[in-house]
Symmetry: C2
Subunit: 368 residues, 2 copies
């Protein structure tokens, strides 16, 4: 019922907004559009999720929280090329922003989970050996010895702290981390002064000569699809033992043939096992992109200027490279205009006050 | 076939030694006897096991090894009343010595695993959330990036580093940690000067007035059975949140009814779920006992003197207390003699040289 209502609301929003929406430049994909309002969350559930998001007791060693790799002050990523991973491990891809994460069709750079099932995404992060490595039967017992959480679970879900409830609460919180007051959205809604003349020039290039909107379209500025760009490998994956080990184990467990001789991140191939998908990665949203350097699935490009320069020379090289990538012949002014446009896609900071972590306080026996 | 041969060899040893073996004092249990020779291990396998035993990369966070809680210098225990457990957790029972562990019929204080299957015992320790929390698919990938291990696995098992192979190798190593040159064994074999006159007086009490040999019999000085002694609870389990949480989760996962209101360690009950087994714990071996303070399943008694005094007053109180426990009315001299006897059960230090932990060195691609 809830989902039906939300879909209905989104369709309604689409109709109301259609007057201001820019049609796609070249017949590809969905038009650029303001972000629909986030799905309303029950405040008690989202607030519980916020508290759990920052609590390191959600990890196996009680030392790292979701916020360790998804920091509000770093655009909800970690600001590193490759994300840190669980102690004793290091991960082999860039930690993506969680801003607007609830709008994704598929999640992870290889699209291995559905964006429609956020609790499963949260579970994967909490339990995986390279992320937070928590035992799903241990951490609810931890939460039960924190009176503040017992009270909050009762209010949010009418019961005791649980694994499933924690996944749902964090998912509810993720829905609240959405772009707010983005200049480009105001522009789309008719305020022609909301973005600079240079950014407007960038928009024209984005939809025209530079062809960005072919894949970066729709309200997220992402087609949700998978494309190979020939981004250079991040050699740390093949030189840093901890990253290499995590990379090998991941590819082994997900069933990549001949995983022991991989010399490149297979991308979407890990899901489909189709050679034609090797090297393809999910088009990331460009909303809030100015806050989430470094860029690409492996953090290989440090700045937005580097990203624009990468596309200007027609991308890199590698298997299955998208035929859409061609040298663009952009002038310095044009590259700057594109960067100005990309910067207009960030709104005011979406922060979440870091809560004080509540202390353990053993429950009175008999109250359990 | 191997098992048949070992059993045959043990029977043969029993016959050869029978001339020296002391008959049980009171018709209970197996006679006191020298420890049979440990089952011979392939040196390449036991040596690999020794190296892995000390390597912290066997744990989830790469920070703790088997030797963290089973230190050769602490009689292969950790010298604590309650063992440390994985970071972010604390365990709720005493870390038992690994000396002679390969001779046990059942393992853990509650007997929840078979002593005949050491690889499963090792697996439990490596993977459990409260012990080492390693992912069984991650750590062989770690080992494969260490050339020394690749070489050793090839020699020991003819293949690559694997999870199962690691469990077997550590099990092989455990077989080598056995009592050597224990004075009491020499005494049993006829050297009447091997233990002091006071210890001989203690032995007589042990087998007679004090009744210890009723349960502490056989070559291990343990009947391998389960008895309730009324040992006082270690209140840390109910006061330290990290211990309490581990205790609750363990009892929940193993299916103890009403686990949330437990006010005492259920012992064997967790396995059988029979009320008559509540509070019963496995009779520990007394071999090497002088090295493994503090004592009892929860470390509640600090010294051998405390243990003898505990039995002298007839044990503690609690459900299912063994009818064998009665006030003994021992004199100070008698208590001292019993302690002298217990000390004669320790042999020369069984040490294992702590290896230098080999560095990671990424394998050449193509050699994998």
């Amino acid at each position: 019922m809830d989902r039906v209502r939300v879909v209905g609301r989104r369709i309604l929003c689409g109709i109301l907004l259609s007057a201001w929406v820019l049609l796609p430049a070249s017949g590809w994909g969905a038009p650029l559009a303001p972000l629909p309002a986030p799905k309303a969350q029950k405040p008690a559930q989202a607030e519980l999720g916020r508290r759990l998001f920052f609590d390191p007791r959600m990890s196996g060693d009680g030392g790292i929280s979701c916020a360790t790799c998804h920091m509000p002050a770093k655009g909800w990523g970690d600001g590193q090329a490759l994300s840190a991973g669980y102690p004793g491990s290091k991960y082999f891809r860039n930690a993506q922003t969680l801003l607007n994460a609830a709008y994704n069709k598929r999640v992870f750079w290889d699209g291995r989970l559905s964006g429609a099932d956020l609790p499963t995404l949260v579970r994967d992060h909490l339990t995986e050996a390279h992320f937070m490595l928590v035992d799903g039967r241990l951490f609810p017992e931890r939460l039960k010895q924190v009176p503040a959480y017992v009270k909050m679970f009762k209010e949010a879900y009418g019961g005791e702290p649980s694994f499933g409830g924690s996944l749902k609460a964090i998912s509810a919180f993720l829905h609240t981390i959405a772009s707010r007051n983005v200049p480009f959205d105001k522009f789309l809604k008719g305020d022609k002064k909301a973005i600079s003349a240079e950014a407007q020039k960038g928009l024209a290039l984005f939809r025209g000569k530079a062809g960005c909107a072919a894949c970066h379209n729709g309200a997220l500025l992402s087609d949700g699809g998978f494309h190979a760009l020939g981004v250079p490998e991040n050699e740390q994956i093949f030189q840093d033992p901890l990253r290499h080990i995590t990379f090998r184990r991941f590819n082994k467990v997900i069933g990549v043939p001949n995983f022991m001789n991989l010399r490149a991140d297979p991308g979407l191939y890990v899901v489909t096992k189709e050679e034609g998908d090797r090297g393809k990665f999910r088009t990331p949203t460009l909303r809030e992109v100015a806050k989430t350097a470094p860029y690409m699935h492996n953090g290989a490009l440090a700045t937005l200027e580097d990203v624009v320069a990468f596309y200007d020379k027609g991308g890199g090289s590698g298997p299955n490279k998208s035929p859409r990538l061609k040298p663009l012949g952009l002038s310095a002014d044009e590259r700057n205009a594109l960067v100005a446009f990309l910067k207009s896609l960030s709104g005011e900071a979406v922060s979440a006050k870091e809560p004080k972590i509540p202390d353990y306080e053993i429950r009175k026996l008999g109250d359990n």
